[in-house]
């Protein structure tokens, strides 16, 4: 992720330590993937109780932008910044593979604004707990508010396994109610040059940086 951000902005992003209580004013906070605290208890659960989370909440309440990828998404959920729950993959297996994502019609947000609705992106996933679950009333709310941002999309070469984790309605990423926070399971930073097999991920991150910083 650092490589991707550096590639786009030309300079290395600031890294924030999880015990930090105080941070400078920032434009964009990215919570990258990984296995915070070994993913013990529940993915992201322990990290979501780190001191830095309060800082991130303040950043959001000031209207700041946050992108959470994979474990970052799990942390946002555990910190109750985004609603719902990420459960174990339906097949009970860790899955690392390329997926096709379809951009949904959703509220205004800085992440996907340069993509057309229905446009497909090729971005890989790598996770054990990406099975997004929302109780019915929440699901309804998310739909009505246009907060479902990305869905796994069926293609002719992946018909049976297009959804890598069994998530409700193929959801791959959701937004906060002001559109400033995106949580997504797929890893855009792993699709940033043609040697990765594509640059759709770079496009997404770049868009977000440009929208915010201008």
């Amino acid at each position: 992720m650092i490589v991707a951000l550096k590639k786009i902005t030309g300079k290395a992003p600031i890294k924030i330590w999880h015990k930090e209580n105080d941070i400078p004013n920032l434009d964009l906070i990215v919570i990258p993937g990984g296995f915070s605290f070994g993913d013990y208890l529940r993915c992201g659960a322990l990290a979501a109780r780190s001191p830095v989370i309060n800082v991130i909440k303040n950043h959001i309440s000031r209207g700041g932008t946050v992108l959470g990828v994979c474990n970052g998404f799990q942390i946002l959920i555990e910190a109750k910044i985004l609603p719902g729950s990420l459960m174990r993959n339906k097949k009970l297996l860790f899955t690392c593979k390329e997926t096709t994502l379809e951009v949904q019609s959703c509220i205004k947000n800085p992440f996907l604004s340069s993509f057309k609705i229905g446009e497909c992106l090729k971005i890989p996933v790598a996770h054990n707990e990406g099975n997004y679950f929302a109780p019915n009333d929440l699901l309804k709310e998310l739909k009505e508010e246009g907060r479902i941002a990305l869905k796994y999309s069926k293609q002719k070469d992946n018909e049976k396994n297009y959804n890598p984790n069994g998530s409700t309605e193929d959801i791959a990423g959701i937004l906060s109610n002001n559109g400033r926070v995106l949580g997504m399971m797929p890893h855009p930073e792993r699709a940033i040059n043609y040697l990765h097999g594509g640059t759709d991920g770079l496009k997404l991150i770049k868009n977000c940086v440009e929208q915010i910083i201008g």
């Binding site: 109780r49 555990e78 719902g84 729950s85 459960m87 339906k90 097949k91 009970l92 679950f133 069994g166």
Partner: protein, 81 residues
């Protein structure tokens, strides 16, 4: 003092692990097993002795960290030995 927290999935939440275990058990010939549910058990050791205090603490721990209340239920009990 020891406290046991049992965490289980809420009614209606899919338990794929339980299903997988059931089907494995059935394949192994245990055909009388008709359903399996999985849960977690967390045993907390307190260096504190007031039952009431320990129980309130444990409850707060569950709400604040141990349990994902969107999909999970929990039960707390004191372990007597």
């Amino acid at each position: 003092m020891k406290v046991i927290v049992n965490v289980s999935l809420k009614e209606g939440v899919l338990d794929p692990e339980g299903q997988a275990i059931r089907s494995s058990l059935n394949n192994l010939g245990f055909e009388h097993c008709s359903d399996v549910k999985t849960g977690k058990q967390i045993i907390l050791n307190f260096n504190q002795n007031s039952e009431a205090e320990v129980l309130t603490q444990a409850k707060r721990m569950c709400e604040e960290l141990l349990v994902n209340t969107v999909i999970e239920n929990y039960e707390i009990s004191i372990l007597k030995d």
